[in-house]
C-alpha cells in the first residue's frame, strides 16, 4: 500500500445525515433571509408572481432542499488519521479541511432527537485561533464519536506543555460532580430571559401593539373592553393584566427553552478535564481542559439575585464577547454553596481582596455623559422643541448620570499572580476572571488627566476576551504589567 493510499481512507457518514444537512440548509436559509428579502418583497407585491410562488414554491423549495441535502451528503467524506482529521466537502467547490487534534479547543458530542433511535451522534470540533473554525461530523455511531473524542483529547493533551496536567483516564471515578435537578434548570429560563429583550425593542410600538391587542380581545370577547361600563382605570388595569400575561408567556417559553438545553445537567471533573452532559431532545456532551480556559464569567442577573442563583460560563479561544451561551461551556444555575465548590474546583480565590476604583473613573464618566446630554439638550433647545421633550431628555441625562455613579460605586477589580478580575453591575452582577497565564497582550493607557493624578488604566487581552482595569495607581499598574509579561514570556501557545 502506498503512503498516499494509507493516508486517506475516505469514509462516508450514515445516510440519516441527509436530515442533518437538510435542517442545516433551512437554518442557513433563515439566517440568509435578510439578503433575499428584496426578492421576496418583489414577489409578494406582484400578483402573478405571488400566485406562482404560492402554488409551486413549497414544492420547489422542498425538492431543492432535499436535492441539495442529498448532494451534500454524497459529497461529504471524512478521514481520521493518527493525529488529525480530514473533511472533504462542497458540491461545486470541493474543499479539503484539515484539523490537527492538537489544535482542537473544544470537542462536543451532540445527539439530536432524530439520531437517538439509530444510535448516531454528531461530533463538533472547534479549533483555535482568530478565525476559529467549527467542524461538524454528523451521523457517525455514538461509540465511534466518543472514541474519536477521547482520541482527540488524548493527542491534544500530549501536545500540551502544561506541567501539572495529569493524563486522567476518562473512565475513572470523577473528582468532582454536580447534578442539577429540573426545578433548578427551570430557574435558568427565568434568570436568562432573552425573550424579555423583545419588550424594550417593542416599546416604541406599544401603542400600535395595544391597539392590535384590543382588536384581538374584541374578537375573543366582543364589547368587553369597549363597553362604557368600564371606567378608564379598569381599562388600564385590563390592558396591564394582558401585558403581564404576555410577559408570563415569554417567561414560560424561555423556561421551556432552558429545559430543552439543560435538562438533566451533569457536570464532572476528572483531573484537568471538566465535562458536562445535558439536553432534553438533543443531548450535548461538552468538555474543556483547565489549560484551555481563557475566561471565566460569573453572572447573576437581577432575577438571579431574587432567586439567589448564579451562572458560570467558561470561554475558550475565539469566543470573544459576542459568543452565545449555546456555544460555550455553561454551568446554567448554581446556588451559593455549589458556586463556592465550583470556584474551588476552578482554582478561583474564595475571598478575593476586591479593590474599589479611584473616584477619577466616576468623574470622567460623569463629564462624558454630562457633555453628551448638554450638547443634545442645547441642540434641541436651538431647534425649539417643546419643553416637555427637554424635560424628558434632561431627566434621562440625570438618570444616566446616577446610573454611571452607581456603576462606579459597585465596580471592583482584583489582580493577583494567578487571576485578573473585574466585578461589575448595579442590580445584577458580572464577575469576569482572566487567568494571567492566558494573557495575550497588555496595554497601559494614560490620558493626560490620569497622568496628572498618577493613575493608569490597564487593558489586558486574552484569547477569550478583554479586561479593562481602570484608574490603577500608575506605578502599581506598571509593576503589574511587568510582572504579567514576565509570567507569560515563559509560556507558549494559547
Amino acid at each position: 500500500m502506498s503512503a498516499a493510499e494509507q493516508k486517506t481512507q475516505w469514509r462516508r457518514v450514515a445516510p440519516l445525515a441527509i436530515l442533518f444537512f437538510a435542517l442545516r440548509g433551512i437554518r442557513r436559509l433563515i439566517s440568509e433571509a435578510a439578503s433575499v428579502a428584496p426578492l421576496l418583497v418583489l414577489v409578494a407585491l406582484n400578483e402573478s408572481l405571488r400566485n406562482l410562488a404560492l402554488s409551486y414554491g413549497p414544492l420547489l423549495a422542498g425538492v431543492l432542499l432535499l436535492g441539495s441535502a442529498l448532494a451534500w451528503y454524497l459529497t461529504f467524506l471524512y478521514a481520521v488519521e493518527a493525529d488529525r482529521i480530514l473533511l472533504r466537502q462542497g458540491i461545486v467547490r470541493r474543499r479539503t479541511l484539515t484539523l490537527e487534534f492538537a489544535r482542537v479547543q473544544q470537542a462536543d458530542i451532540q445527539i439530536p432527537w432524530y439520531y437517538r433511535p439509530f444510535g448516531l451522534a454528531m461530533l463538533t470540533l472547534d479549533s483555535a485561533g482568530a478565525s476559529g473554525q467549527t467542524l461538524h461530523l454528523s451521523g457517525i455511531p455514538v461509540d465511534q464519536a466518543e472514541a474519536l473524542r477521547d482520541q482527540i483529547l488524548q493527542v491534544r493533551d500530549q501536545a500540551d506543555i502544561d506541567p501539572d496536567s495529569t493524563p486522567a483516564s476518562l473512565t475513572d471515578e470523577p473528582d468532582y460532580s454536580l447534578h442539577l435537578a429540573t426545578p433548578e434548570v427551570l430557574r435558568y429560563g427565568l434568570m436568562h430571559n432573552n425573550l424579555l429583550v423583545i419588550v424594550p425593542i417593542l416599546a416604541p410600538f406599544s401603542e400600535l401593539l395595544i391597539r392590535r391587542l384590543e382588536v384581538v380581545v374584541n374578537w375573543l370577547a366582543p364589547d368587553w373592553l369597549t363597553t362604557d361600563a368600564l371606567t378608564t382605570g379598569q381599562r388600564i388595569a385590563a390592558m396591564g393584566a394582558l401585558l403581564l400575561g404576555l410577559v408570563m408567556v415569554l417567561m414560560l417559553i424561555s423556561m421551556l427553552l432552558g429545559l430543552l438545553r439543560y435538562k438533566g445537567y451533569h457536570l464532572q471533573r476528572q483531573g484537568d478535564h471538566f465535562r458536562y452532559q445535558a439536553g432534553l431532545t438533543t443531548v450535548l456532551t461538552r468538555s474543556v481542559r483547565r489549560p484551555r480556559m481563557q475566561l471565566i464569567t460569573q453572572r447573576r442577573s437581577w432575577v438571579g439575585r431574587l432567586l439567589r442563583r448564579h451562572s458560570l460560563i467558561i470561554s475558550k479561544a475565539g469566543d470573544g464577547q459576542q459568543g452565545q451561551d449555546s456555544e460555550r461551556f455553561v454551568v446554567p444555575v448554581l446556588n451559593d454553596s455549589n458556586l463556592a465548590s465550583l470556584q474551588h474546583e476552578l482554582g478561583l480565590p474564595a475571598q478575593p481582596a476586591w479593590k474599589s476604583v479611584h473616584w477619577g473613573a466616576a468623574v470622567t464618566a460623569l463629564v462624558r455623559w454630562l457633555g453628551l446630554g448638554g450638547v443634545v439638550l442645547l441642540w434641541l433647545w436651538f431647534q425649539g422643541v417643546p419643553d416637555g421633550v427637554l424635560w424628558v431628555v434632561g431627566s434621562l441625562t440625570v438618570l444616566v448620570l446616577v446610573w454611571s455613579v452607581l456603576s462606579w460605586w459597585r465596580l471592583r477589580c482584583y489582580c493577583s499572580a494567578e487571576w485578573l478580575s473585574l466585578r461589575q453591575g448595579v442590580i445584577g452582577r458580572t464577575i469576569r476572571w482572566l487567568p494571567t497565564s492566558r494573557v495575550q497582550s497588555v496595554a497601559l493607557h494614560q490620558p493626560w488627566w490620569q497622568r496628572r493624578l498618577q493613575r493608569a488604566t490597564l487593558d489586558v487581552r486574552g484569547a477569550g476576551g478583554r479586561l479593562v482595569l481602570p484608574w490603577l495607581p500608575a506605578q502599581e499598574a506598571e509593576r503589574y504589567r511587568d510582572q504579567l509579561l514576565y509570567r507569560i514570556a515563559g509560556l507558549q501557545g494559547l
Binding site: 470573544g320 494567578e418 495575550q440 487581552r461 509593576r479 511587568d482 509579561l485 514576565y486 509560556l491 501557545g493
Partner: protein, 184 residues
C-alpha cells in the same frame, strides 16, 4: 492547581520597562501624521453652511469657514504632530516587544514573543511614497492586530520582522512546545 492569590515575586524578577529604552520611529512619520490631519479641513463645509443659515455677511462666512479649520490644522501640525512623533517609540527586548504612542492619550502596548501568532508589514500609498512601513503583530483571539508599530523605515521594518520570525522559529523548534497557531 495551587492558588496563591498573593504570591510574592521580587522586583528584579520582572525587568521594568524604562523610558530610556524606547527607540524613536522614522522622522518621515511626522509627514504621515500631518497628511492624516486633512479631515480637519472638512469642517469648512458645515461651518459655512451654519453661517449661511444664520445670514451672516459672505466675507465673514468665507473667512471664518476657511480660516478656523486652517488655524486648527496648523495648530495640530505644529504642536500635536511633533509631540506625538516624539513620544512614539518601540522597544525590542529579549522576550517581548513594546510600543509607546499618543500625545495626550498615552498608550503603551506590550506583547511577548511567546504569544505572537503572525506578523505583517503593511505599506499604504502614502507610506510607500515616504519610504516607511508599519509592522502589525497579531496574537490569538482578536481578529485585529494587537500592536502596530507605525513609521518604521522600510528596511528597518523588514529587519524587525526577520528578527521576530527568527525568535518564533527558535521557540517552535524547541521540543514539547505547542505553538498554538491557527490551523490551516
Amino acid at each position: 492547581m495551587s492558588e496563591q492569590p498573593n504570591a510574592v515575586l521580587t522586583t528584579d524578577h520582572f525587568p521594568p520597562l524604562r523610558a530610556l529604552d524606547f527607540q524613536p520611529v522614522d522622522p518621515a512619520y511626522r509627514h504621515q501624521l500631518r497628511v492624516g490631519l486633512w479631515p480637519v479641513l472638512l469642517l469648512t463645509l458645515p461651518l459655512i453652511w451654519v453661517q449661511w443659515q444664520l445670514g451672516l455677511p459672505p466675507a465673514l462666512v468665507v473667512s471664518v469657514g476657511v480660516g478656523l479649520p486652517l488655524l486648527l490644522f496648523i495648530l495640530l501640525a505644529v504642536i500635536w504632530v511633533p509631540r506625538r512623533y516624539r513620544y512614539t517609540g518601540y522597544v525590542v527586548r529579549e522576550q517581548d516587544l513594546h510600543l509607546r504612542t499618543g500625545a495626550l492619550w498615552r498608550r503603551t502596548t506590550s506583547v511577548t514573543y511567546s504569544r505572537i501568532q503572525h506578523l505583517e508589514v503593511s505599506q499604504g500609498p502614502l507610506e510607500r511614497w515616504l519610504g516607511i512601513a508599519r509592522l502589525l503583530v497579531y496574537t490569538a483571539g482578536g481578529s485585529s492586530h494587537d500592536l502596530a508599530i507605525p513609521g518604521l523605515a522600510r528596511d528597518r521594518a523588514d529587519q524587525l520582522r526577520q528578527h521576530l520570525l527568527h525568535h518564533l522559529d527558535q521557540r517552535q523548534a524547541a521540543p514539547t512546545e505547542d505553538d498554538g497557531a491557527n490551523s490551516a
